[in-house]
């Protein structure tokens, strides 16, 4: 069973990597509940591609599981399914447990 804490750690690592591409004032916070992705977030679609693809790579590397997170996010019915780190972590944990 994958722990939520471990997944959150991986998401934060992906955020760190994205933040290297951003000016200080636009960097994402490593906050659990702030709305940062999806329609309420303030990163553009290209940064979202970069963030989610990095996260997919890290999950593949660390857990050996392939999840097309970006494709879930891009689907309109899932627009607000994971717009915070906490909700994204919940989604990942449940997806990984269902594998």
């Amino acid at each position: 069973m994958v722990s939520s804490e471990k997944i959150i750690q991986v998401i934060f690592e992906a955020i760190d990597e994205l933040n290297e591409q951003l000016p200080k004032e636009e960097r994402l916070e490593k906050s659990l509940n702030k709305v940062q992705f999806g329609s309420g977030g303030n990163i553009d679609s290209l940064r979202l591609v970069s963030l989610m693809t990095t996260l997919e790579q890290k999950i593949e590397e660390q857990f050996g599981i392939t999840i097309a997170i970006f494709d879930h996010l891009a689907s309109s019915e899932n627009d607000n399914l994971f717009n915070t780190v906490a909700s994204l972590a919940d989604f990942l944990v449940s997806t990984m447990e269902n594998r």
Partner: protein
């Protein structure tokens, strides 16, 4: 080329926004501000001279392409068709000629080499077959590109294969391509940023020139004061001993690139020097070091003193020490000194050294190659100085000879290098490319001389530049540049003598120099304040009335090329 923030345009057939983000927000100096040209427009952008984009006077551009996007025959090869190698290389020539066209529009052009994804198996065992295999043809394409741009001083081919190798499995990620037309994974862009930043620093004259080394557990294993030089870990059939020898060999190799070595170590000097002189497996001997401070004083202070002895600036220095406390002390005290984190395991010392990018320069001149030898000569001069009673007697005994020449095709490269890397004895700190300098000299009423200095100990090479701009009845000294290696040997006065004699010959009335201060050129101001020129009220403008004689220093013998 010395702006606060380098302005850059990125040109590519794929989306470089992520790369642009890394380049703009990487905190290492120099800072960069990018403009990303619309992707997929490489050829039209390179072909059209009159585009508004080119009016922005960018400091540099990166032209990063996938080979199949700009070389149509290579795309055919990827589809297992059989284009001829002549056809492919002909297209490479066309691309090179378009890229070279950009050299007139921006100061520096970087072109990453062409790569293709490691997951492509290509022709398998035939992939390196001459003129047929994809890998073989791609190598030929990159070599051809390298040959075609060889004559250009401001276009540099960057080895993207290193970036791909460093990035590993995710160097190419097809998901990024389909989602955002992004070819490479983040790690490739990060490696590219490191190379480009280090290239920019080199072009700015900010590359490192001196490695200052600790001794115990850095150049050899163990504490020589405790073990005695016979028992330090160095060489022999021992992984650590071999690693220290290899580390020393790598350091010695860097001297062939013009990097100097120095020692700052807490030790008894005699004990440490005994080890260096006597241990049979020492690769580095005393003659390989430009200077040393071996005592029990604070290392930061010793670094300051050593750098001052060598007439270098702290910004030129890399400090390598196995002790994290000493590293932190130097890093905190001397912020200009580069102190790399250093591996705990001595088996990793050599690879840590070889991975440093801070020594990169846009060219390696014969002066660079000889720098270590020149500093050894400098030590001999200083020994002589100690033995003589006056500076004057010392200068006379040196037998200084100065060869004066104008800017020529032969010395253009070295002159531009000196112009761009000299900080201390530099009146105006202009930074220019070879083409910019040539254009300037060709302009109306301009004159430039170079000075090559030698003495009984050896040739210090082309180490001085003075340039003039004539206007009405006076002239202005635009550049007054002298390598720190020959400062204080009457070369400064010889440069002024040359300029004044020329200006007199033109019948001019006065010659002026305006000092433009930088954080590093105080030694230049010190010289001018003692030059005998009239000093303006603000202390920045220096004037010589040309009806007064200015004499050639008697210790110097000049000749003209």
């Amino acid at each position: 080329m010395n702006p606060e923030r380098f302005r850059c345009v990125l040109i590519s057939d794929f989306n470089l926004d992520i790369f642009s983000g890394y380049l703009n927000n990487n905190e290492d100096l120099p800072a960069v501000h990018t403009t990303v040209a619309p992707f997929g427009q490489v050829i039209p952008l390179l072909m059209q001279d009159d585009l508004k984009l080119w009016q922005n006077n960018f400091d540099f551009t990166v032209i990063w392409t996938q080979p199949e996007a700009v070389i149509p025959s290579f795309k055919n090869l990827l589809e297992y068709k059989r284009p001829s190698i002549q056809e492919i290389l002909g297209e490479v020539d066309q691309f090179a000629s378009l890229a070279l066209n950009v050299c007139d529009k921006v100061k520096t052009v970087f072109v990453p080499t062409w790569t293709f994804p490691p997951y492509m198996s290509g022709f398998g065992m035939l992939d390196m077959k001459k003129d047929i295999g994809i890998a073989n043809v791609l190598m030929q394409m990159n070599l051809r590109l390298s040959e075609k741009i060889d004559g250009s001083s401001n276009m540099h081919l960057l080895d993207a294969h290193k970036w791909i190798s460093a990035a590993g499995k995710y160097a190419y990620n097809p998901r990024l391509w389909y989602r955002g037309k992004i070819v490479f994974g983040n790690d490739v862009y990060k490696e590219a940023v490191k190379d480009i930043k280090s290239a920019l620093a080199g072009i700015q004259g900010l590359s490192k020139k001196l490695i200052i080394l600790d001794l115990d557990n850095t150049l050899w294993g163990g504490v020589v004061g405790d073990l005695g030089w016979e028992n330090i870990v160095l060489g022999g059939h021992d992984p650590g001993g071999e690693a220290y020898v290899d580390f020393q060999t790598a350091l010695k190799s860097l001297t062939n690139r013009g990097v100097l070595l120095g020692i700052v170590s807490k030790n008894e000097e005699t004990t440490a020097l005994n080890a260096i002189n006597n241990h049979p497996e020492m690769v580095l001997r005393l003659k390989d070091f430009a200077g040393w401070k071996i005592n029990w004083q604070d290392k930061a202070q010793n670094i300051v003193d050593l750098v001052s002895d060598l007439n270098l600036g702290l910004q030129s220095v890399v400090f390598i020490d196995d002790n994290p406390v000493e590293r932190a002390r130097v890093r905190d005290t001397l912020t200009e000194v580069f102190v790399p984190e250093w591996p705990v395991d001595c088996l990793l010392y050599r690879s840590a050294l070889l991975s440093l990018r801070c020594f990169d320069t846009p060219l390696i001149s014969s002066e660079d190659i000889d720098r270590a030898r020149m500093y050894a000569h400098e030590q001999q001069r200083n020994e002589l100085r100690k033995s003589l009673s006056s500076v004057d007697e010392w200068l006379t005994s040196l037998g200084i000879k100065i060869l004066i020449d104008e800017l020529t095709g032969v010395n253009l490269q070295r002159t531009t290098q000196l112009l761009n890397k000299t900080n201390q004895m530099n009146l105006s700190t202009r930074r220019m490319t070879e083409n910019e300098l040539l254009d300037w000299v060709k302009g109306d009423n301009k004159k430039l001389w170079t000075f090559r200095v030698s003495d009984r100990y050896g040739d210090s090479g082309l180490t001085g530049i003075i340039s003039l701009e004539m206007k009405n009845d006076h002239c202005r000294i635009v550049d007054f540049i002298l390598s720190c290696r020959v400062m204080g040997r009457k070369v400064e006065e010889t440069m002024l003598f040359t300029a004044i004699r020329y200006a007199k010959g033109l019948g001019l009335k006065k010659i002026k120099a305006e000092f433009i201060p930088t954080p590093k050129n105080k030694p230049c101001l010190d010289f001018w304040e003692k030059s005998g020129f009239h000093i303006s009220e603000n202390g920045r403008t220096f004037t010589w009335e040309l009806d007064k004689e200015y004499y050639l220093p008697r210790q110097v013998e000049i000749s003209h090329a």
